[in-house]
């Protein structure tokens, strides 16, 4: 009996302590915000949120559940912002009272496994890339490839196409680019987070694609630039919309973000592949944050805006370490103007 009483009183003390801790947390300044969606931005958002929490004490809990789920959750209002690799249309945004703006920029690169060809040696243009991925160009010694690569010794080797098997923003932007540069692709395969690939084999995730590309001699695939760089896979240089052959790098991705026609795009509803700038890497992607224009939770929304503002201004080191590209200042200005004009604070 005595024992039982002691236990009860101990439990009581513990409960009081726990309650005190909880109360303490509530009365402190920190606000916890939640976001969910795209896995493409997950690495950089988690770095940013760690640095932001250190600075302000506000924690961001980001769930990398996929763009589709992110959009579904923001529509239901269970999170403070959603993140999607595909922009929502202005009609959809208006219907749910949502607004969207870009978070960060990243590049997608074609990667190849041809013996004797290392990174930056092969050069392709969009039309040829589309024909390869359609299965119309079947061999590496095809004259169309040779014409773009004078001086490069091309083997007679069957081309194996490797694509993503899972639905992804990478596929969305890559197929969007092919649709823009190849009318045949645009009318038959179209673009989306997953498409009906005319040929090839599907690997799950960036790691699945790069694993297949490494295993299969004569293969071509596409992965995020950061992934190709960190894993030292031979990437392909691309001829951009302005006709200039470019290496994939941060400057090229930033140029694409800066020269894309944002002025003509309501709610930043613009996919920036095949951007017109002279130095713009043609397969550049962004991820959009999606939020309510009329905040459901004013306090949280304020912190979300503060988080993005802080990230745009101070997020370069984290983004660059992960091979993402921070938004160019011109675009950040447009976004902040959009916040001021379209969102209620």
């Amino acid at each position: 009996m005595l024992n039982a009483t002691t236990t009860v009183s101990r439990l009581g003390t513990a409960a009081v302590l726990a309650a005190a801790t909880l109360l303490g947390a509530n009365t402190a300044r920190a606000t916890d915000i939640t976001g969910a969606g795209s896995s493409f931005v997950y690495p950089v958002i988690s770095k940013w949120s760690a640095a932001y929490a250190e600075k302000t004490g506000n924690h961001l809990n980001y769930q990398s559940v996929g763009s589709g789920a992110g959009i579904a959750q923001i529509k239901e209002g269970t999170i403070d912002f959603g993140a999607s690799d595909a922009p929502m249309s202005s009609e959809d945004l208006a219907k749910y009272g949502l607004g969207q703006f870009p978070i960060v920029v990243g590049g997608i690169v074609p990667v190849v496994n041809i013996s004797g060809v290392s990174a930056d040696q092969m050069k392709l243009d969009g039309q040829t890339l589309a024909e390869i991925f359609m299965g119309n160009i079947k061999n590496w010694n095809d004259p169309k490839i040779a014409a773009l690569n004078p001086g490069l010794k091309l083997p007679s080797k069957h081309i194996t196409v490797v694509h993503r098997s899972d639905g992804s923003g990478t596929t969305f932007n890559f197929t969007n680019y092919l649709s823009k540069v190849s009318p045949a692709w645009g009318s038959s395969v179209k673009f989306g987070t997953s498409v009906k690939w005319p040929t090839g084999v599907g690997g799950k995730g960036n790691e699945g694609v790069s694993q297949y590309v490494r295993q299969i001699a004569g293969s071509i695939g596409y992965v995020e630039y950061a992934y190709a760089k960190q894993n030292k896979i031979a990437w392909v240089d691309m001829k951009n919309a302005a006709g200039k052959v470019l290496k994939p790098d941060a400057a090229g991705f930033a140029a694409a973000a800066a020269t894309a026609d944002w002025a003509g795009a309501k709610d930043f509803n613009l996919i920036m592949t095949n951007a017109p700038g002279a130095n713009a890497w043609p397969i550049t992607a962004t991820t959009w944050a999606i939020m309510y224009k009329k905040p459901k939770n004013a306090e949280h929304t304020k912190v979300v805006f503060d988080f993005f503002k802080w990230s745009y201004a101070n997020g370069q080191p984290q983004a660059q370490a992960l091979d993402y590209v921070p938004l160019p200042p011109s675009l950040v200005q447009k976004i902040e103007a959009y916040w001021a004009s379209d969102f209620q604070k």
């Binding site: 996929g66 589709g68 899972d166 395969v189 673009f191 293969s219």
Partner: protein, 339 residues
């Protein structure tokens, strides 16, 4: 009790006790019934939920959903033929490969192996059953698929099918085109229907062989020893005594393995190649129901999501049909044996 006046009425204590017992028994029976019904409710609930989720796909495409090979998110047209075909073929390949091996393992452990070896090997097999499927998938992708592409696939295409480099078709391809078609491919890499079947076979061997081993041990020693006494070889004892005695349980074990192969997701996703194009060749990449769902579900919206739910429902149907076939086979066996 009261009808027997010669027996003294039980003391009231005991009466209360027996009534309490009866009530407790009733409650216990309800509890057990509840447990059993829970399984049924979960099964029906899951089946109904997938059917409900897939209703848009079923109503949009009707019967075409079952027979159409198109899976095209670009035009929002979906058909289940390729994933269903992939699921059935990979599982069949797995069973065809796993059954003889499992049979050998079980025989070795019950009839041939010395006593001190039996327990360690049996435990090792059970451990194999506990390995998560993602590990099999990684192993398949990083180690087995390259090995398969380098050593097994060229041999198969050269001797049974058509060479990818187009030198000349094999004798089998010329004379037995049906078999030749199964082993012809343009794809030079390791991920294929056959690879997935082999990885699945390795995954289900522990299940089938443990069941076989357990039931082989139930065969009465006196039956086997009588046969040995009459001069039978080990093989004759196994084929004529052990197998007939345990046939229905062995078939049950095989279908347990098949059921697992049908629903396996991660390992298959890694080594199947994930191509939603219909192909008769075992060496071409393919797609299964589970791998298609795992690949596309997170980013799917609208009709595509509904089509994936419909696929999940079809997996229920396929599994149900397989179990039904198992039941029918067992019943036919029972009739044949006059039981």
């Amino acid at each position: 009790m009261s009808s027997l006046p010669s027996v003294a009425a039980p003391p009231p204590d005991q009466d209360v006790r027996s009534r309490l017992d009866a009530r407790n028994d009733r409650w216990f029976a309800w509890l057990l019934k509840g447990c059993a019904l829970l399984v049924l409710a979960a099964l029906l609930g899951a089946a109904f939920a997938t059917l409900w989720g897939g209703r848009h796909a079923f109503s949009t495409f009707g019967w075409h959903f079952l027979v159409s090979p198109a899976w095209d998110p670009g035009t929002d047209t979906y058909g289940a033929l390729v994933p269903v075909y992939g699921t059935v073929v990979t599982s069949l390949v797995a069973v065809v490969l796993a059954v003889p091996v499992s049979f050998g393992i079980a025989l070795f452990l019950t009839e041939v192996a010395p006593g001190w070896l039996r327990t360690p090997i049996a435990s090792a097999i059970e451990l194999l059953a506990g390995i998560p499927s993602i590990i099999y998938g990684m192993w398949g992708l990083f180690l087995f698929a390259p090995f398969f592409a380098e050593h097994i696939k060229p041999w198969l295409t050269a001797y049974l099918g058509n060479n990818p480099d187009g030198d000349h078709p094999s004798w089998v391809y010329d004379h037995l085109p049906f078999i030749g078609k199964l082993f012809s491919t343009d794809y030079p890499f390791g991920a294929s229907v056959l690879t997935a079947g082999i990885v699945l076979a390795i995954m289900i061997i522990p299940f089938i062989s443990s069941v076989m081993r357990e039931v082989f041990m139930t065969v009465p020693t006196r039956l086997k020893e009588s046969a040995y006494a009459l001069g039978s070889s080990t093989w004759e004892v196994v084929w004529d005594i052990v197998l007939p005695y345990t046939r229905s349980a062995v078939i049950g074990g095989i279908f347990l393995g098949l059921g697992r192969a049908l629903g396996e997701t991660m390992a298959v996703t890694f080594v199947l190649g994930n191509t939603l194009n219909l192909s008769a060749s075992l060496l071409d990449p393919g797609a299964s129901i589970a791998s298609t769902i795992a690949n596309q579900f997170s980013e799917a919206v609208g009709l595509q999501k509904s089509a994936l739910m419909a696929l999940a429902f079809l997996l229920f149907v396929v599994t149900f049909i397989v179990l039904l076939i198992a039941r029918l086979m067992l019943r036919r066996l029972a009739i044949k044996e006059g039981r």
